[in-house]
Structures are given as C-alpha cells and as structure tokens.
C-alpha cells in the first residue's frame, strides 16, 4: 500500500514501450556502492543539502525513490507547534495529537480541557486539519480503482468555508499561516487551480518564507501545472527547489519543461541571476547536460555555488572509466590516446574555468582538471594542476586528503616501472592510503584497490615478482616453487627496511599459509616426510583441522556427502593424515601388508584430490576454497592429478594375492582412469556447458577390461550392482 501526498499528474505511463533514460537503477549494496567507481568525493565540494543529487545509480543518492510523502514533515511539525505552545505542553502529547489521534479524539480533547488560548487555538485547528486528511492522506490500494479522481471528489464546500473563516479570524500569524496552508491545499485538491493560485497570492506576503510557505508555493506550482501553464509551474518549482531543503527532491520530480518556448518563458520570469542559475542547475542535473549548464551559469556568475555540484556530477560520471584505467599494462596502454567526445569537451571546459580561477572554489576546479587530465593520460599536465591546487586548497582534513589521493594516483599512473627513488616517494603515500581505509569521510576504496593492482603490475614489469605478489596476490605466482621460496625468504627476511616491512604487511599470504600450501603439494607428490615438516610450520588451526570424512575410505560410487555423514570412529586432521601416510609408506617399504597399505594410501591420495572426499585437505589460503570453478585455473592440474593414487593402486595390484584383491585394485584404477579422462575433456565436467553434449554411455577403461577376468569374485558382482557404466560395458562386451 502506498499513500500519496501530492498527486502525480505528471506521471503518465503508457505500456506501448516506455524506455527509461540513461541512468540504470540498481540497488546499492549487492552491486557495489551506488556511485560506482570513484576517487572524487562530492561532499567535499558541495553542501549535503544537495546530496540527493550526487551522481548515483539510484534515483536519488542515498535515498533511491523518495516515497516519504506522509511523514516528511511530521517531526518539524511537532517541533513548530511545541515552540508555539511553550514548555508546559510535553512534545509527546503534541505528537500524539498531531500524528495519531483521530477527529473524535481531537474533538473530545477540545471539549475536555480548559486550555489556555494557544492550546485552544491548537485544538480548534486540529479539528479542521484532521478533516483535511481525508483527501491529503489518501490510502491507495493498487488493486482498487482510484476513487479520488475528478468525479469522486471530497466535497470540501463546508470545510473550505470553515477554513476561510478561521483564516480571517486567526489569533496570530503562526496559526493563520497554518489555516492558509490547509486552504491552499484543499483548494488544490478540491477546488479550481485558479482558486488555489488566488488564495496563495492573497496571503503570501503576510508570512515568512518558511517550510509551510514553500509547501503552499509547491501547491501553487501544481495548480499552474494543472492549467498547463508550464512556464509558471516550473519557475515556482525552481523556487521551491532553491528555497526548501525538505522539498528539494519533490520539486525536482515535478519540474518538467515541455517545449523550448515555455522553458524560455520560465527563464524570463526570473528576477535575478541567482534564480536563473537555479534553473540552469536543474536542467544540467535532471536532463544530463552539465556542460551546457556550467557554461550558462559561469556566464551569469562565475562565483555561483551552483557550479560545483554540476562539476562534481560530471567528474563522477566521467570517472567511471577509472575502473578500466591501466588495467592491462602493456606499454601501449601508457601513452595518450584520443578520449571520447564528451570527456574531451568536459576537460576543455573545466580547463578553461580552472585557468580563469574566478569560481567560488578554484581549488575544486584545479583538482578536477588534474584528475580529468590523468584519466586522459596527460600525467604531466595533471601534476601541474595539482601543484597549483596545493597552494590554495583549504587546510581542512578532507580537502587535503582528496588532493593527496589524486596526486598519488597520478604519480603511480605516470610511472612505467618501480625503482628505488619511486618507492621512496610512494611509500608514505601508500601507507597513508592504507591507513585511510577506515576513514569513511572521503572515498578511497577504489584508489587503494587500484594502487595495489597497479603496483603489482608495474613491479612485475620491473622483474620484482615477490613485491608484486605482496601488493596483489595472483594464484599463478604459486605454481612455480621458486616463486614460493622467494616469497618465503622475503617474508622471513631479518632487518627489513621500513618499506619492506610495510610491503610484507600488505601481503595477504603469510608464512604459515605458504607452509601449508607446500605441505599439500609435497603430500600430493608423495614426499611425505618433507610434507610433515612443512605442515608443522603451518598455522596450528590449519594443521589440526579435521577432515570431514574418512580419507582412507573408497567407494565404488564416489559419494562425498555419504562419507562425510558416515560414522567415523577415528577422525583425521591434516597432520594426522600425513603421519598415517608415513606409517603406511614405511610398512610398504618394509614389505608388511603391502596390498592393504597400498590400497589405503591410494585411497587417501585419491581423496585429497578434487575427486575425493577430503577436498578440505587442500583448501587453504593459497589454493582457495569452494569447488574447482571458484579456484584459479592455475591450480587445476595439481588438484586433479591422479598420478599418486595410480602409483599406489598399481602397487597394490602387483602385491595382490588373490582375485578379489586384484578385482578391487583394477576397479579403483578404473576410477582414476575415468578422472583422467575428465581432466582431458574438461568441458564435460562443467554442467553449465553443453548440457546436451554427447556424453558416451561408458568408456572401456583399461580397468574395466581387466576387471572382466574376475567375474567370479564377490567384488566383481558388487561393482556390477553399483556401477551402471560397468554393467553397460559388460552387456556390450560379453
């Protein structure tokens, strides 16, 4: 259910295809902040009273759709009456009477008490005001026909007469203004537009230009709109927009020039340059033509405060391309390229105004100029502008932070590679940016993320893979063990310089993470003793984390969930697994129970791969976690490799003493062969690709072929029962 406060006559939706303009309306939060990518904080340059008009994916910045029509003035209304009635009347009582009590309660309150004059005036006013709620606070159920349209009017004849009487006989200006407002509004909803305008004009000079006055003015504007006198309507809306904080969004929503003619007439109604500037600002914001608006306002008054909002919006829009800035660092990316026409013309315009230096905040224009130059890869020009801005930027925390941030971005953007002197220059800046992440008063997230990425990329270009990795981790780094050792050495380095310390602190991968990773790799390559050594240096919590299923178990049909849910007398942690594997290896080497130990070791090696029930064994900081497709393709080969499992199952096969044992070993080998087939045909493993692709009924694994000779064993029959593919194979190959 929605309640409408002002009738939206201007909202005419047709279904024959109405495509909404420009701005994509998306919810903030799920898709990142509502301002997209940004390094330029609007509230540093523009008063927060205009914050709904900051550039945003939402309709109004910080608000999205403004549906606050019923309660917009509830608090201020209570406050104003409280001030009028004095301290003797508690605010809760006023609040109750204004916002909760119905007509009957108001009536009885009046009858009951013997109030003072002001209280009496308030209660009498309440009686009529509550009657007005019938048309001013209409509940609209979407699925009900709107009964407040023209023919189903609230008959306001009596009410309006009463309001008029009270208006003329009001005891003081405060109460009189309120009756006046109710009458203007009642006329708007229930009488003619002409009457609305007449009653507004008759009294408008009697009252101060407070919120109530602007609320009434907005109804006068609406009346003109009903008369299709767009020139006057839009002019008045611009006065509301300029004069009343609470109604700014409402005035914006209602502002709607139709033809050049009425727009020009609206301009002609302005009494001074400030009113004209307001109109141009509204055009520039609402109709996405900030450059034209800036030009017009600048010509009227270079010092107009209205310019800065337009500037910031234009910059916020233009900087969305920062998300792709220097992301592919080929040498060609560093040079200047032609930018698109509106970015070009914006930069020209801002340059011209920044050069003249005669705006209210010249430093804002200089900063913007520098930033736009950087985005167009004109780093030297940007630098020059920042130097200029430095001398006049106010010594206020956020303005200084904004400049410092922009300068850092430019210095880094301009560099091709990172050398010692550059490190020295950047170190304090990056450290400052890092520590500023908690500071919400200016936008710095995107800058920090970008800085990390670009430092990494440029270190790589300079040949320093380790520092690159610390700034921005990338999985491919860890595939080569020489990299891993180099990083370990760096993290471990004694007597680090302050900068090196800082770089280490940035690394998301710590020493313990590296040891854990190496332990997993070593184990998968069957180097158990070194694996144990490494795992002992991993984080204790990691080494001791319990595997969800029995890693030494194998099934005919892989079922990880079944294994996880099954009762386990002994649970194994990662380090326990390694110790057990070592035990088994030792026994095999000593020739003890080779078959059993080889099968069990083979099972464990199978289970710690992607295909097994112990994926958590390899899930760690470096490998990542959560399924193969959320892990980097760099690790795919390592995590799906069957060679160690095959090694042990083959060992078991050789040591088998009877057909049952041989059957089992062959079948387990078949599973490994199947997995290798999937590795080679990866696209069939991904359920999102090729749903209807031709998957064969079965493939004659070597293991299947060999298993056939053990048709007399119990195990063979179990496989036949549980493995449909084997069944098909035997049927087709009798």
């Amino acid at each position: 259910m929605t309640k409408t406060f002002l009738k939206k006559y201007w909202l005419i939706l047709t279904s024959a295809g109405c495509i909404s303009t420009g701005i994509v309306l998306a919810c903030a939060g799920d898709n990142g902040p509502e301002y997209g990518t940004s390094n330029f904080t609007p509230s540093i340059f523009v008063d927060s009273a205009y914050s709904p008009f900051f550039y945003s994916y939402q309709f109004y910045y910080g608000i999205n759709y403004d549906e606050n029509h019923i309660t917009r003035f509830s608090n201020s209304n209570v406050q104003e009456w409280a001030n009028y009635l004095g301290k003797t009347v508690p605010a809760e009582k006023i609040d109750y009477l204004l916002n909760t009590a119905n007509t009957t309660s108001a009536d009885s309150a009046l009858k009951a008490s013997a109030p003072d004059n002001k209280m009496k005036a308030f209660l009498e006013y309440l009686r009529l005001a509550k009657k007005c709620e019938a048309f001013s606070l209409t509940t609209i159920d979407h699925w009900e026909v709107d009964t407040t349209k023209k023919n189903r009017h609230f008959n306001a004849t009596t009410l309006n007469r009463q309001l008029r009487e009270k208006l003329t006989a009001a005891p003081d200006v405060f109460v009189q203004e309120r009756y006046w407002f109710q009458l203007v509004r009642s006329d708007f909803f229930n009488a003619t537009p002409q009457e609305t305008i007449r009653i507004f004009d008759a009294y408008s000079t009697k009252f101060p230009s407070n919120t109530l006055w602007y609320r009434s003015l907005a109804y006068k504007a609406g009346a003109y709109y009903k008369l299709k006198d767009y020139s006057n309507a839009n002019y008045l809306y611009s006065l509301v927009y300029a004069g009343c904080n609470d109604l700014r969004t409402v005035a914006h929503y209602s502002f709607h020039p139709q033809e050049q003619k009425d727009w020009q007439e609206t301009i002609a109604l302005c009494r001074n340059t400030e009113e004209k500037a307001t109109l141009w600002q509204m055009l520039g914001i609402f109709y996405s033509d900030p450059q034209r608006a800036i030009k017009e306002i600048y010509a009227l008054n270079p010092r107009s405060e209205r310019l800065d909002l337009l500037l910031v919006r234009a910059v916020n829009r233009s900087e969305q391309r920062f998300s792709a800035f220097q992301t592919t660092l080929l040498s060609s990316d560093m040079g200047a390229t032609a930018s698109d026409s509106s970015n070009q013309s914006l930069r020209t315009l801002v340059t011209q105004i920044a050069k003249a230096g005669n705006t209210a905040r010249p430093w804002a224009w200089q900063m913007a100029c520098g930033y736009l130059n950087m985005l167009d890869k004109q780093y030297d020009a940007a630098s020059t502008w920042y130097k200029k801005a430095e001398t006049i930027t106010p010594k206020e925390h956020r303005a200084q932070a904004q400049l410092r941030l922009l300068k850092l971005l430019n210095t880094l953007a301009a560099a091709r590679t990172i050398d010692g002197p550059l490190e020295k220059k950047l170190y304090p800046e990056i450290e400052w940016l890092d520590s500023s992440q908690a500071d919400q008063s200016f936008r710095n997230d995107d800058a920090f993320q970008w800085t990390r990425k670009v430092m990494a990329a440029k270190y790589r270009l300079s040949g320093d893979q380790v520092k690159a990795e610390c700034f921005f981790s990338s999985p491919a780094f860890y595939v080569d063990n020489r990299n891993v050792e180099a990083l370990k050495t760096f993290l471990n380095k004694p007597n680090k310089t302050p900068y090196e310390n800082f770089v280490c602190s940035l690394s998301v991968v710590k020493q313990t993470d590296i040891f854990e990773y190496q332990a997993v790799q070593l184990c998968m390559n069957d180097n158990i003793d070194p694996a144990i050594t490494a795992m002992k240096q991993a984080a204790p919590g990691a080494a001791r984390s319990i595997l969800p299923g029995n890693p030494f178990n194998a099934r005919i049909n892989d079922c990880h969930d079944c294994d996880h849910e099954a009762q386990q007398k002994i649970k194994y942690s990662k380090i326990d697994l390694l110790y057990k594997l070592k035990e088994m290896k030792d026994k095999i080497n000593a020739g003890q129970e080779v078959y059993t130990n080889a099968i069990l070791a083979g099972n464990a090696q199978y289970n710690i791969t992607y295909y097994g029930n112990a994926r958590t064994f390899y899930e760690c900081k470096i490998y990542g976690e959560g399924g193969l497709w959320s892990m980097d393709s760099a690790f795919e080969t390592a995590l799906t490799n069957m060679k160690t499992a095959i090694k042990y199952y083959s060992l078991a096969l050789k040591a088998a003493q009877n057909d049952e044992q041989r059957a089992k070993a062959q079948y387990l080998l078949a599973k490994c062969q199947r997995n290798e087939w999937y590795n080679a045909n990866a696209h069939l493993r991904d359920p999102w690709l090729d749903k209807n692709g031709a998957k064969p009924d079965f493939i004659a694994w070597d293991g299947f072929k060999a298993l056939k000779q053990y048709a007399n064993t119990k195990y063979y029959n179990e496989v036949l029962k549980e493995c449909g593919y084997f069944k098909t194979y035997t049927a087709k190959n009798p």
Binding site: A16, G17, C18, H142
Partner: protein
Amino acid sequence: MSFYYWRTVFSPDSVETKTLRENAVQKLYVRYFDVDWPPPDTTPAPVAPVHFETAPPVDTIIPVVYFRNRVFERLTPSTLPGFTAHVLALVRQISESHRLHPRAIQFDCDWTQRTKDNYFSFLRTYRSLSGNDVSCTIRLHQVKYPERTGIPPVDHGILMYYNMGNIDASGGSSIYEKNIAHRYTPSLRSYPLSLDIALPVFSWALLVRDGKVVQLLDKMSGNLFEKDTAFTRISQNWYSAKQGCFKSGYYFRAGDNVKVESVAAGDLLDIVEDVNRYSNHRIRNLIFFDLDRQNLQLYDKDIFKEILAHTD
C-alpha cells in the same frame, strides 16, 4: 475493423471520433491497465489504470490488460489464483464505475517458454471465473515456434504485426521491416488459432547519443522535427539537434541524433497482402494500433478503408 485506445485518460477528441464514425467502427479495444512486478517489490501491481472522462463513442468496449513477462516469471501455482482474482476484480471495478459491461477481454503479454505454464494457467482460470470470451496477443516468434512457446488456451488470438526489430541506431525500423516479417509469416499457414491482426499506424523516434539509444520518444513523427528550427535533417529519417533544447517534454543535447520510425501506407497494404497470402485469407479482423490524433494525421483519411479493401 477496430482500433486500440492506449492512453491513460479515455477522452477521444473530435478527430479521433470522426475517424471512428467515418469507418463505421463499432468496437474499441481499450487498455484498462498494465501489470508489472519490478524486482524490489514483493507483489505485482497494476500500473496507470485508465480513467474514462467521456462515454465511449462506440457500442462495444473490450478491455485489454498488458502484462510484463516478468510478472509470470515470479508468480507460482499457489499465488496465481489470488492474482487472477485481483485482475478480474479490477477489470470489473473499472467497467462498473463507468457503466460498461464488456463480455470479452484481451490480454497482452510477450510470454516465453519459461512463463508459458503460468500464463496459460492464468488465461484458463480467468476465463472460467469470468465467463468472458478471452483472447490474447500473439507475436510473430510465437507463431513460428509454437512447439516452444505453446498455443494459448484462448478463443482466438491477435497477431501483433509490429515491433519486430531491435530498437537501435541501425538502419532498419524496429516497428516493421518486410524482410524480418518474412522470416515468420510463412508459419501463419499452419498456426491453429484463428487470428485477428493488429497493425501499426503509429510512429515514434529514438534519441541516439554517441551511437546508443537513450530514450524512446513516443508518438513523435518526422513532421515535428522537420518544422523545428532547432533540428537539421541529416538523412531521410534522421535529424540532429543543433543546440540544447526542450521538445514535447524531452530534452535534447546539442549533437543528439533522432531516428524517426514510422510505417508507410504502402507498407500497411503490403502487410495485409502478405498476411492474406500466407494465412489463406483466414484473417478475421483488423485492429489498428492505436487511435490517436497524432497517429491519424500521418495518414490519408481513407487509408483504413483502403486497407480493409485489401483484405478481400
């Protein structure tokens, strides 16, 4: 023949009523409301219900309700009955509050394979609850691929013979292109439902900025731009704004381009011939979209009679 009336306030002017009279039109298809269900909302809701300001100048009014496809994506078998009841109630309310008693209704929805079940279930339920004659719009792709999108359980369909192309800055018209239509019309032969045909007599323009369409300019025709000194014509149906300006409530930046799309009288005759040929003259009625002075002034006043004559 008849017309669609698609404005939120029902108030045909003298030009429009004259057209109805001169062509002996006895039936008007009036959009009652749209239904949409934008993602943040928890329920579907009607949009801009019609308000009758004058009595209809024809004998019969047939309500039309337009559904955005996403409504049926989000409805479930359990919420469908309640929704159907709401639609029926609102249709009845609108009719009763204007003393109308339609016995038929038309639904307009560009349904897909995914929403087919819900939509068809809605149609069936509505029909049995209301006892009305139920028809619905069919688009060309649904005629060509009935095995995918299904054949709706209605008494008859209305073939929507427009909006076949993409709305973009490319050469063709998004409203009607003969070669696009021809990809679909052969399928008319075997389509099992009996069909009326809805023909486009509207024009609109696309506001193109930096090669991309940023706004649909409804009902704006070439004439409007031709006469406006703020625009220069750059080719047959393209105009360019010389400076920033307002026009019909829209704002144009200097350098914005406008692509006007409309359907020539000759095209309309072609359409009828094609449809007759491919459907073996099985087309029942013509309905023109839509009755609006701004559309009517694009054509010779005898065009409708001429088109009708072509159906024989």
